[in-house]
């Protein structure tokens, strides 16, 4: 378990905007994995991701989407929505 920096009085969080510091990816048991050459830069997965855990693709630069595993909770919606089978779910290895 991670070490608490400080157990504040009444669990007050004194620094605003600190939610980014809390990495929620560890909740995951399955994770989506991208086969880059299959990505058509359509960004449908990016639109559907409920956790903003996908960086959008750049069609002009031929840059595929990227999954941010610090926050991806492995819901599989991106895999379900991808029309090109570019994403598949695999078991998380720790």
């Amino acid at each position: 378990m991670e070490k608490a920096e400080k157990v504040t009085m009444g669990a007050v969080i004194t620094t605003p905007g600190s939610a980014l510091d809390y990495k929620t990816g560890s909740w995951r048991t399955l994770k989506p994995v991208l086969t880059e050459e299959k990505c058509k830069f359509c960004n449908i997965c990016w639109q559907f991701c409920p956790d903003s855990a996908i960086e959008p693709a750049d069609a002009k630069a031929k840059k595929p989407i990227k999954i941010d595993y610090d926050y991806c909770k492995g819901c599989g919606i991106c895999v379900h929505e991808c029309p090109f089978d570019a994403l598949k779910m695999v078991t998380e290895e720790k």
Partner: protein
């Protein structure tokens, strides 16, 4: 010196709130505490009090509003009883976990069913584990004093926990008694303005009521545990300061004729006066009885109860509450406090005074009989004894 006034218990708690210069009073009326928000409303209408009275749609909302107001750094008070305290229950645990020093006057009243509006300690006893300090008044002077004391203790940075101040339904809430009402400047010099550690402030944003995973939750509970432990010492300090300022001595456990006692009756609330009168009568009959009044139930006064137990052959605990399947809650706490003591007296539990049934001197004589029998036999026939059941057939 204050001004002597003849007042009801609800007035005593309301005037204490006024003297404490509270900022916010979120309230929902319930018998027998309704006179509290009525009195606050009168004070505000008369311009005698500069506070915000929030009339909410339920007790749950009243305590929720109290939490928000307290988190903003305001001094907050409310009053409730019985079912109202039950509706607040969820929020009491949150007020304690968020370390907010809200003070609530509770007109101790029985719980439904069957519905009953009279005196009983079940409502606050059922909040035993909420993380609130618990004080019990014997009379209206106690009710006033303990409210003022509760703010000082709750707001101490070593404590920062909410307080419940119990006063017996009708026996105190609606009964006129002579009370010394302190002067404003006396209370001001005893109770400085509340200084929060953290406060809700748009200019300095913080998160209150945050989420905690298994990684930290235990430490937050340990923090509350420490705060309640600290309260043991802080209460003694504040009682002592209160005595120096106002000349009235409050103790966690008040003893009466206990030094050579064979039987000690441990009481809470208004029956403590009846206990002392009964002790005098029993002494005249040659029975060496003494009494002790528990003013502070949370934090539980372990040391004082241990000391008391060393003075007697039998410690009789009077419970105006019942935990079905065990016995009285005060009895179980006393038994727990003494469990590792090598020398301890016989312990016996008496359940009485539920739903407003009077606790009388006759009850004390009956309990003295049962206690003497238990001493002769080296232990009680029954650990838990119901006193003054009437002769109705119980289905």
């Amino acid at each position: 010196m204050g001004v002597k006034q003849v007042v009801k218990g609800n007035f005593a708690t309301a005037v204490a709130a006024k003297l404490a210069r509270v900022d916010v009073v979120p309230a929902y009326p319930i018998t027998p505490s309704t006179l509290f928000p009525e009195q606050i409303s009168t004070y505000i209408a008369n311009g005698e009090m500069d506070a915000e009275l929030l009339l909410t749609e339920s007790e749950h909302s009243a305590m929720s509003a109290a939490i928000g107001a307290s988190a903003s750094g305001a001094r907050v008070v409310t009053a409730t009883a019985s079912q109202g305290l039950k509706l607040m229950s969820e929020m009491l645990f949150i007020a304690s976990g968020m370390r907010l020093p809200i003070v609530t006057a509770v007109g101790n009243r029985a719980l439904s069913a069957p519905i009953n509006i009279w005196c009983d300690h079940q409502d606050t006893i059922a909040e035993r584990d909420s993380g609130c300090l618990q004080f019990y008044a014997e009379n209206n002077q106690d009710a006033l004093d303990l409210m003022v004391i509760a703010f000082r203790v709750s707001e101490n940075h070593r404590v920062l926990l909410p307080s419940l101040v119990g006063l017996d339904a009708f026996v105190l809430t609606h009964t006129m008694e002579g009370v010394d009402v302190p002067l404003q400047e006396e209370v001001d010099s005893f109770l400085p303005p509340y200084k929060p550690v953290y406060r809700l402030d748009v200019k300095n944003p913080m998160t209150f009521g945050s989420f905690s995973t298994p990684a930290h939750y235990t430490e937050f509970k340990y923090q509350q545990w420490n705060a309640m432990k600290n309260a043991e010492k802080v209460i003694d300090e504040v009682f002592s300061e209160f005595y120096n300022k106002f000349g009235r001595k409050h103790k966690k456990v008040n003893e009466y004729r206990t030094d050579d006692a064979d039987i000690i009756f441990l009481t809470m609330g208004s029956m403590s006066g009846t206990a002392r009168a009964s002790i005098d009568a029993l002494r005249e009959k040659g029975i060496k009885a003494g009494a002790a009044k528990l003013t502070v139930f949370r934090p539980f006064p372990f040391d004082e109860v241990k000391k008391l137990s060393g003075k007697t052959k039998i410690l009789a605990v009077l419970d105006r509450n019942i935990s079905f399947g065990f016995g009285g809650a005060v009895f179980s706490e006393v038994a727990g406090a003494l469990v590792n003591e090598k020398e301890k007296p016989i312990l016996i539990d008496f359940i009485l005074g539920l739903g407003g049934r009077d606790v009388t001197q006759e009850d004390f004589y009956k309990m003295a009989d049962l206690s003497e029998t238990a001493i002769e036999k080296g232990g009680p026939d029954d650990m838990v004894n119901w006193i003054n059941l009437n002769d109705a057939e119980v289905q």
